[in-house]
Symmetry: C2
Subunit: 890 residues, 2 copies
């Protein structure tokens, strides 16, 4: 017979915390606390299986449920010595939802269930405290009316206010027992009028009503939305916790409070919390009365003189402090507790892992490991790699008042304020005058790089998580909100429309790149500070990793930042970014405008020394670490301007007629540039470009090796689909290597490999590996081609796709394991089959995404490469992936 109901209490405990998926977080932890002897009011949990049964069977419960609940209820009666629905000594219950994960938006709590006219009267008589009883009764009616019977709770509040007005008093507690009994009558009338039926007087009917409301709320709109936003499957379902009431509001020997076993904000190992004498749980949270500090120390720090719990109820405090120690030892984690003191007796109502800031999480993990509560491995496993982002960037002050005027994608973390600036040139100019600038563009292109660098933050109206703006901003560590679709930008008039709001060039904005939000004016920020715990955890993580972590970087600034964050090499240096500097773009355009090889060579000769210097700088910074250099990748038209005036300028610079320039630009135009004349196709059409870049690399190697650590360049052929393409490029590269070695008299080692970014490359990886000494999986483009989604255009349907459950996560953010992942695995398998010592890495944006890094571990890659600011995240995620892989093997 299936078990639907799990009791907890002193006499019997059916569950424990490991049964979270069956009992929910709350139910599992109540059972766990009871089973280790902590004072938990008895109760029972109706499992999530009942929820599943309910939704799979047309909102019907399992047949056995009624009897099981009644049996469990009897156990609670026995333990409490009170009887449900009894008129003199009635058992009162709380009913709470409790899903596997915390789920705001669901029905939360009904308290004091079991009260009706008769039990209230009896209880008032037996306790002699009518005020307490009718206050509890009216609270019950309000909660039950609101969440179970869908009566607007404002009506109850109005009635309460009316009563106080009538009595001429201001505070609820000044109402007498009679007042409250009268209020109960009015509340019941409200229910009858609004719900069309009377407030139920049968306690058992009340109980089933509350249970039903919990299950029904699992499918309300707010819960559905929350689940979608937090990737919680609907199948999980919720449990229902039914528990004997205890009261913290029965007098001055009663209290209620919440506590964290350590400081959730800093992580300091100090007991931290708040309490109120003679109050119910809600009162602490609701802020009607100011809660008091838990410890004397906290009171002293706060500089108040109202007694802490430690001083007011020293015995209770000692018990609670013991509970704190017990729970931390038991769970091996910082806990968030709820407790109630009823007539000098302590009851634990809840424990769960406490939410904490990223900084606190680090400190707690390190401290606990050093205290011996957990192992170093557990410390590393416990951290959310994505949360490290908070530590590396300024963030909005959580207490800052904020109202977003527009939303986009959280493209690059951190917050920034600055004045709206609509062109890259203006951004550079204003920044050079010391102004903080937010660069606002429809979308960005490589021509905007200098402006992006100068800006404090970047905001675009178009483009996804891997749009140009997003990728470059993450690389630079600039906050960025991309794809804020509500924005309309009128560059000519210098106006940005944002719904009804009209913003002008020069107005001040703040963006939160972690939240994807845009605010008017300047908001307060919190500056990042890296604690010692960060370095300690990173050190532990590095010891656990299988995969190396490299960075995607092409500027000295990025390379230096990445090394400081622990990068072990460059996994992707995009050489095209080096051609957009104002002095270089001219030579680049000359090359594009050239009508023959000789003309191209002339322009390339100008670029060679600049490109060589780029590599010298990178090699020096990386001092002997591997540097993967990708040959020129984008289609040539990306280097040309769009307007007629600019084109005339280009023609002049390149020394050709405007007509010829226009024709050349027209010829270069493509329907689908993503699938056009780019990557190694350029090297094959114009071998001299590949030769110049190869020569620049090798001359830089020779130069740096002469004075320092010998660089190890890994030259990467982009967009190859066939072995032959790599072979052709290899011939050009090797010829240059040979020439430079002869000229300099030096010998040096280097690798030639390819980027696997087309499905065919993965499918034919065995052939490609015959020509390639390494593969770097370019999962951005691989995602675009495998899924047939242009990342620049995906915004128009990706939201609808996620809503419809087609892609649970944006596949440009977290690797699509079934599709793109299958290609990566094929590529790895076939590549290694053909060249067992092939070096395998990933350099797409996924290289900095924890879920994708776990996939990379399972696929057997040698390294991941990501933006500088994601290097710590990748180090931690790679360690976690390695630990999980080992534990799943044993």
């Amino acid at each position: 017979m299936e078990k639907w109901v799990y009791s907890f209490g002193k006499s019997r405990c059916d569950g424990d915390a490991s049964m979270r998926s069956l009992l929910g977080g709350k139910g599992g932890n109540l059972a766990e606390m009871a089973s280790i002897g902590l004072p938990v009011p008895p109760g029972f949990t109706i499992s999530t299986d009942v929820c599943a049964h309910y939704y799979n069977n047309d909102h019907c419960y399992p047949d056995a449920l009624k009897a099981d609940v009644e049996t469990a209820l009897q156990l609670v009666e026995q333990e409490t010595g009170s009887i449900f629905a009894d008129e003199t000594n009635p058992l009162l219950l709380s009913v709470r939802s409790g899903a596997r994960a915390s789920m705001p938006g669901m029905m939360d709590t009904v308290l004091n269930l079991g009260l009706n006219d008769k039990t209230a009267a009896g209880l008032a008589a037996s306790t002699g405290d009518a005020r307490f009883v009718y206050d509890s009764y009216r609270r019950f009616i309000q909660m039950y009316g609101d969440v179970v019977m869908e009566v607007d709770h404002g009506l109850f509040e109005d009635a309460l206010e009316d009563m106080k007005l009538k009595r001429g008093i201001f505070v609820d507690t000044d109402l007498s027992g009679d007042d409250l009994e009268q209020l109960v009558g009015e509340y019941k009338k409200i229910v009858t009028e609004e719900a069309g039926i009377d407030f139920p007087q049968d306690p058992m009917e009340q109980l089933w009503g509350a249970i039903g409301a919990v299950f029904a709320s699992w499918m309300n709109q707010r819960a559905i939305t929350y689940r979608r936003l937090n990737d919680i499957p609907a199948e999980w379902g919720t449990a229902v916790n039914v528990q004997a009431m205890v009261f913290g509001n029965k007098g001055n020997d009663c209290a209620t409070g919440v506590a964290f076993t350590r400081n959730p904000s800093t992580g300091e190992n100090l007991f931290y919390g708040e309490y109120l004498i003679n109050a119910q749980g809600e009162d602490v949270v609701a802020g009607i009365r100011t809660p008091l500090p838990l410890t004397r120390h906290a009171r002293e720090v706060a500089g108040t003189d109202v007694a802490s719990l430690e001083e007011a109820m020293p015995e209770i405090f000692t018990q609670l402090a013991d509970v704190r120690t017990t729970l931390e030892r038991h769970y091996g984690d910082m806990q968030d507790l709820e407790f109630t003191v009823q007539q000098n007796k302590l009851y634990m109502l809840q424990t769960r892992s406490g939410k904490r800031t990223a900084e606190a999480a680090l400190t707690i993990a390190v401290d606990m490991a050093e205290e011996g509560l957990i192992t170093k491995q557990e410390a590393v496993m416990r951290l959310d790699p994505a949360s490290l982002d908070q530590l590396l960037h300024p963030t909005l002050d959580p207490s800052a008042d904020r109202h977003a005027i527009a939303r986009g994608l959280p493209a690059s973390p951190g917050a920034a304020s600055g004045i709206i600036t609509l062109t890259a040139d203006m951004a550079e100019k204003r920044a050079s005058q010391g102004q903080s600038v937010i660069l606002v563009r429809l979308e960005t292109s490589p021509e905007d790089i200098h402006g992006m660098h100068a800006a404090a933050g970047i905001l675009t109206a178009r483009g996804g998580m891997t749009s140009h703006a997003a990728v470059v901003a993450r690389g630079m560590g600039r906050p960025c909100v991309s794809g804020a679709g509500e924005l309309r930008i009128d560059s000519q008039r210098g106006i940005v429309y944002c719904g009804d709001v009209e913003l002008k060039d020069g107005d001040t904005l703040t963006i939160d790149g972690a939240a994807g939000e845009v605010y008017l004016g300047t908001l307060d920020m919190v500056q990042p500070s890296l604690s010692g715990a960060f370095e300690i955890i990173m050190g532990w993580a590095d010891g656990m990793r299988d995969m190396a972590v490299r960075t995607n970087a092409e500027t000295p600034a990025d390379a230096e930042a990445a090394r400081a964050f622990g990068a072990e090499g460059i996994g992707l240096c995009r050489t095209e970014h080096m051609f957009f500097d104002s002095d270089r773009i001219i030579a680049m355009r000359e090359m594009i405008m050239a009508v023959d090889t000789a003309g191209r060579q002339l322009a390339l000769d100008k670029l060679l020394p600049m490109q060589r210097q780029d590599f010298v700088a990178l090699f020096e910074i990386m001092s002997g670490l591997p540097v993967t250099i990708r040959l020129l990748d984008p289609p040539l038209h990306e280097f040309l301007p769009h307007s007629e005036e600019e084109l005339a300028e280009v023609a002049q610079q390149a020394g050709v007629s405007v007509d010829l320039a226009r024709q050349r630009a027209l010829r270069l135009r493509e329907s689908n540039p993503m699938l056009g004349h780019r990557g190694c196709r350029l090297a094959i059409s114009y071998p001299e470009i590949c030769a110049m870049q190869s020569r620049a690399i090798f001359e830089a190697v020779a130069k740096v090796a002469a004075t320092g650590a010998a660089p190890i360049p890994e030259i990467m052929v982009p967009l190859a689909a066939t072995a032959r393409e790599i072979e052709i490029c290899r011939q050009i590269i090797e010829a240059e290597a040979h020439a430079v070695q002869t000229e300099t008299g030096q010998t040096f080692t280097y690798l030639i490999g390819t980027m696997i970014e087309l499905p065919r490359a993965a499918l034919c990886a065995d052939q490609l590996a015959e020509q390639a000494e390494f593969f770097s999986f370019g999962t951005n483009d691989l995602t675009q081609t495998a899924l047939g989604i242009s990342r620049d255009d995906a915004a128009s349907f990706m939201h609808a796709y996620q809503d419809a459950g087609i892609y649970a996560v944006d596949p440009f953010v977290s690797i699509d394991i079934d599709g793109v992942g299958a290609l990566v695995k094929l590529g790895v398998e076939k590549g290694r089959a053909s060249r067992p010592d092939i070096k395998l890495g990933i350099c797409g944006e996924h290289g900095g995404d924890p879920a994708s890094i776990h996939f990379c571990q399972s696929a057997g890659l040698d390294y991941v490469s990501c933006s500088p600011f994601r290097v710590p995240i990748a180090r931690l995620a790679a360690a976690q992936a390695a630990v999980m892989a080992k534990s799943s093997k044993t």
Copy 2:
């Protein structure tokens, strides 16, 4: 010990025709003829392995070659009774190249090798025919000087002309023996002056010089170009044939000729050929003397009275006629022969399969099968499916004088003449006035469809073999040359620049869509005629096929044409083509401009009856055969105009402001439309479009089923990458099916399936098959995404790619088996694993390409679908593929 040299002759025959790859076509057939007792002058073949050795070993021969050649030479000496380099009875040799496939551009022939001053004098003395000997000697010096020593052959011809001038004669044959001996002296002087060395007098040195020249010519530029154009691998190499000379020019009892065993033009079973008395082989071909007919019948038909061979040399003719029969029986194919009669003795110098017209090929195959020379299967296997194209379209008269002014891709076969017309509207107008029009565009788009339909032929400056122009033209059966990159079109001034030529709107052009060439003026055409043999062969082929053949069609005209060509259903009906008609595009644009679902619905309501009528027409034509209908596929911006004026018109039609229309158009614009908001992404964003199309289909089914054969619609969800996308569309489609069934009271069957056109769809085909009852592999888009090549942009590098050997064949023409093919095979395997009875087909352009059809057979597809005019090709190719599959199994 490896064998490098293969003798042939009466006494010994080392090879046969099956050793074509080792001996080349010519060498194999000489050995074969000798071995079946035909009179072949003895000789030997130096194998293609020697060529490979030569190129793999720095132009050195195998060590054993010299001795092997000498041994083989002795055998020739024995059989001919003459001695190489002997001064009185010298053996003279011919040296010819002979590759596996016919290879124009290589060194062809050196005759009379072995002559020098001494052997010539000796031979003149022994034969008493100095004129013949010195004529042979001077011919030898000229040929050898030209092809081995690289002396300009014009110099020899000048010397000959000078000599004739000096002697006051006009015909070569009037020169005396003395004249010719003197000419030999001058020829030798020319060689010494030009080559810097004397003409070699050592016959053995002459022999090795000629052999070396054959091998060297394998890598000359013309040969390389020819191989590239004809997909011949360089590794094949060439053989060298060395053979005893026989002379058809030793007197009036000598002759030489060429013959076909049947008429190569019509296929008629009549001996066909030409000959000349007292002449060498070259004379027949060179056209200096007019060759005479072989048979009396041919002479009578030609109406001449000079004797045919049958009349002039009846005994020889009888022997030759026997040879004809022997060879046809032996080879089971029509042969192309070369023969020489030396002093009343017949020698066979060559036999090979005769080239023939497509029509002749059909007739010969059918006749031979009916004569019992070959089986029906052999008849079917022998035909080149691609050649059927010639039979279905008008072609240029082969005798027409032609000079191409521009070249592009052979995008759609057939030839057409007409006046240059630059817009679709003008094309329609002129065509309606009875003018023949060539529509000339930079590229075409769906808006041009009406103009393409009205045009006699289509010429574009941009776009590949599967560009819009090419695909649509093939579907319509219109000749098309696409991607003629030399063209520059100035639409405003109505001028088309083609290199230096300036063409005006209204000038007349002719295009040859099978050759991809463009000519000035009107050229003569040959109209197609389908012989009875065509139907017979098609009938045989149909009996051998495993795969069904369907067509890609959406207009009644195309559907009817395809059925006439034997299509067994529609494999792809592209519904978007139905929305471009001038009365529909307005409603379509209204829908696009609609700001909400209600507005869209209003426009869709207008489209519904039109769309329904489209399907009614198709269902009626296909009367019960399956019809695969693809839901709307292209991005919506394809339905919008580009210019500001046209946009204003659209705004007016749609009843919105120009500003709103412009904004909407701007929002729809995409960076990479190929990977954008299209396919089922439209159905998911705008379910009402999918609903309208589904309703139109089902209402049409109900209407047609009421009076005729029940249609079987197969509704195809385009561009799916996930099962969930199909599931969502399925819900919409099924709801409409249910509604129409309820409304009409009819029940009908239909299938819902998907197009596999993204790599992810193939990789996850097991998941997709859970939602899809059929897969149609859309290998056009699958090629674009798997290889990362936009077919609209590929022209800029695809030629360079083919030249560099990266893709041997354009992957849009013939399926890339390693990459795209791997995905198709994965899709088939996974699809069947998950749904064993899943229906599998292909509807990309590859469905009409014979090589790709062979792949489809091996992949296990159920059907191929192609343009109407390719249906016969597909039927034949599918039969061949099935036969080959069976024979490879046994």
